[in-house]
C-alpha cells in the first residue's frame, strides 16, 4: 500500500482521483457501486444560479474512444442543490474524507457571483468555477477562450468567494499557459483542466448536424494525449504557484500517473465512469499497484518527475 493521499490547498484528500463534474451525478447514484471513501472528491453536476433544462435534441454520441455530449448544463439550480442534493451528498459521504466540489457554471458574471455567494454559505469544500460557458456580454465568446475575459470573471468571483477556488479551464483557450496565468493572477487557488473539446458530427440521413447546437463537447480516451499536453503547459505556467488538477480521457491508473508525472497534484475521471461505473476506485487501485511494484511510497515522490 502506497500513500495515495493528496494535500489539496490544505485539505487532505483520501485519494488522488476526483469524480469529474457531469459524469458522476451527485455521487449518490454510485453509492452502492463503489466505495466513495477512496475518492479524493466528487465534483457536482455543473450548477447555475437558476434551474436549467439543458439542451433539446440529441445529447449523446459515441465516437471512436470518445463521447460527444450536449447536455447543456441541465441542473436544478444552486438553491435546490443546497437544499436537496448537497445534504444527500453529505450523507452518502459521511465518515469519509472525500471532498465535495461544487461545480459552478453560469451565464453572466452576476449569476456566477450570486451562485458563488450562496454556495460559500454551505459546507462544500471547494468551488470549481467552470468558465467554459457562453458569455453573453462578450458576444457569445466563452470566458474560457480569452485570457482577458477569464481574468474578469475569476476576479469578480474571487471577491465574493470565501472557499478555496478552483478554476476549470477549457481546452478552447487561445493559449493555455496565458489562460492559466490569468486565472491565477485573478485569484484562483488552483486550476483544473481540461473540460470537453468542441466537436461536431453530422447525421448523413438527415443531412444535418447531430446536435441542435451544431458543436458539442468531446471527452474520453480520444482526448487524453492532448489533455496531457495542456496540463503539462499549465503546470509549466502556474505549477510553482498553485496546484493543477489534471483530467481528460483518464481511464486507467497508468493514464492517471502520466498526469501526476507531468506535475498534476490530483486527477479527475469523467467519461471512464460510463464504461466502468467503478472506474474511480479501479484507477486508484491501479495507481497503488503500479507504485507498489515500483517502490514508490507516495505521489510526492513522482509528481512532476517527467519534467
Amino acid at each position: 500500500m502506497s500513500d495515495l493521499r493528496v494535500d489539496l490547498l490544505g485539505q487532505v484528500l483520501p485519494g488522488p482521483v476526483i469524480a469529474a463534474s457531469g459524469t458522476f451525478g451527485y455521487g449518490i447514484e454510485y453509492s452502492e457501486i463503489l466505495d466513495l471513501g477512496v475518492l479524493g472528491g466528487v465534483s457536482s453536476k455543473g450548477l447555475t444560479l437558476n434551474p436549467k433544462y439543458g439542451n433539446e435534441g440529441e445529447r449523446l454520441l459515441e465516437t471512436p474512444s470518445g463521447l460527444i455530449n450536449s447536455i447543456g448544463l441541465q441542473n436544478p439550480g444552486v438553491r435546490h442543490f443546497i437544499e436537496n442534493e448537497l445534504p444527500a451528498m453529505r450523507r452518502a459521504l459521511a465518515g469519509t474524507g472525500t471532498a465535495i466540489l461544487a461545480n459552478l457554471g453560469g451565464g453572466c458574471i452576476e449569476d456566477y457571483e450570486e451562485g458563488c455567494e450562496l454556495l460559500c454559505a454551505t459546507d462544500v469544500d471547494f468551488i470549481e468555477l467552470n468558465i467554459s460557458c457562453p458569455n453573453v456580454k462578450h458576444g457569445g465568446i466563452a470566458y474560457g477562450v480569452q485570457a482577458e475575459s477569464a481574468k474578469e470573471v475569476v476576479g469578480r468571483v474571487r471577491k465574493v468567494c470565501t472557499k478555496p477556488l478552483i478554476v476549470k479551464m477549457s481546452p478552447q483557450a487561445e493559449d493555455i499557459a496565458r489562460m492559466a496565468a490569468a486565472c491565477v493572477e485573478a485569484g484562483a487557488d488552483a486550476v483544473s483542466l481540461v473540460n470537453t473539446f468542441q466537436a461536431c458530427a453530422i447525421d448523413l440521413e438527415k443531412r444535418k448536424p447531430v446536435f441542435n447546437n451544431i458543436f458539442a463537447g468531446l471527452s474520453g480516451p480520444a482526448v487524453r494525449p492532448i489533455a496531457l499536453r495542456m496540463v503539462w503547459q499549465a503546470v509549466g505556467a502556474v505549477g510553482n504557484a498553485v496546484p493543477v488538477i489534471g483530467l481528460g480521457g483518464i481511464a486507467t491508473g497508468e493514464d492517471a500517473l502520466q498526469f501526476i508525472m507531468a506535475g498534476a497534484t490530483a486527477v479527475q475521471v469523467g467519461t471512464a465512469n460510463f464504461a466502468d461505473p467503478a472506474a474511480c476506485q479501479r484507477i486508484t487501485a491501479e495507481m497503488d499497484a503500479w507504485m507498489d511494484k515500483h517502490g514508490v511510497k507516495s505521489l510526492d515522490e513522482i509528481r512532476g518527475c517527467a519534467r
Binding site: 457531469g22 459524469t23 458522476f24 451525478g25 449518490i28 447514484e29 454510485y30 453509492s31 452502492e32 457501486i33 463503489l34 453536476k45 433544462y53 439543458g54 440529441e58 445529447r59 449523446l60 454520441l61 459515441e62 471512436p64 474512444s65 470518445g66 463521447l67 455530449n69 447536455i71 441541465q74 474520453g220 480516451p221 481511464a251 486507467t252 467519461t271 471512464a272 465512469n273 460510463f274 464504461a275 466502468d276 461505473p277 467503478a278 472506474a279
Partner: protein, 268 residues
Amino acid sequence: MPARCFDAQVFSRTQVADSIQRLTVRWPESVPLPHAGQFCMLRCWEHDEAPLLSRPISIHEVWPTGNDEPICQDGEQLDLVTFLFEVKGIGTEQLAALEAGDFLQITGPAGNGFDFSELDAGAKVALVGGGIGTAPLYQTARELAARGIKADIYYGFRDEPYAMEQYRGHFGTVRVATDSGRVGFHGFVTQMIKPEEYDLVLCCGPEVMMRRVAAMCAEKDVKCLVSLEKKMACGIGACLGCTCKTASGEGKSVCKHGPVFDAKEVFA
C-alpha cells in the same frame, strides 16, 4: 435503491429468430431481483474496448416469479433473469456471441418499471407492444398473472412474430398484427385495441405507436403507461444524457425516473 454493478454468469443464450437473441443470466443473491419494466446496462467487453458505452436492455423474464417452479442446479436454487434483444450493431453483436458460462458486467436494476400496485385482482389490463418493444411486456404479463390478473396482449410485428409461444396458457387473449399481413391481423395493433375495455394500458414500442396508443387512451380517459427509449451513457441518473421533457416543462431522466411514464406526463 441505487443500482449495483456486478459480473453475472450466462446461464444460456439462444437465437429466437433472425437477429433476435434470448440471454439468461444467473442473478446474484446479493442483488435485489429486478421488476417488470426495469432494465440493466449490459457489457461483455472490457472498459477500454469499443463501444465505449454499455447497452441498456430491458428485463424480459425473472425466474421465479409468483408460483414458478424453482430451477435448481447442484442443489442450489437459481435466480434467473432473461433479456430479449435485437442485434442492431456493435454492442448487441457482442452480447449475441455470449455462451453459457461466460461472464458479463451488469449495472442495475435500473429504472422504475411498471407500477401496477394499485390494481385490484379484477382489473382489466392490456399490454400493447411493437417489435422488440414487446421484450419488457413478458415479465409484466407474468407479474400481473402472479397477482391474478390475466392481461390481454396486443403485439405488432413487421413481418414475423417472435417469442410468442411463451404466452400460451397463462394470460388473457393474445392478438398479433403484422405490417405485411403474413401472420395474424394485417395492419397495426392500434386497429385492434379498444382502450375503453381496459382499466390500464401498458405500452412499449416505436414512439409513433406509443403516441397513437396514448392518444386513443386519452380520448377514452384510460390510464396509459409507456416505456421510453433514449440513448444512455450512465443508465443510473448521473449524466443527464437521457432527459425527456414532461408536461410541466421539467426534464426527467428516462433511466432513473422512467423508463416507464404516464403517457400524459411525457406525450404532450
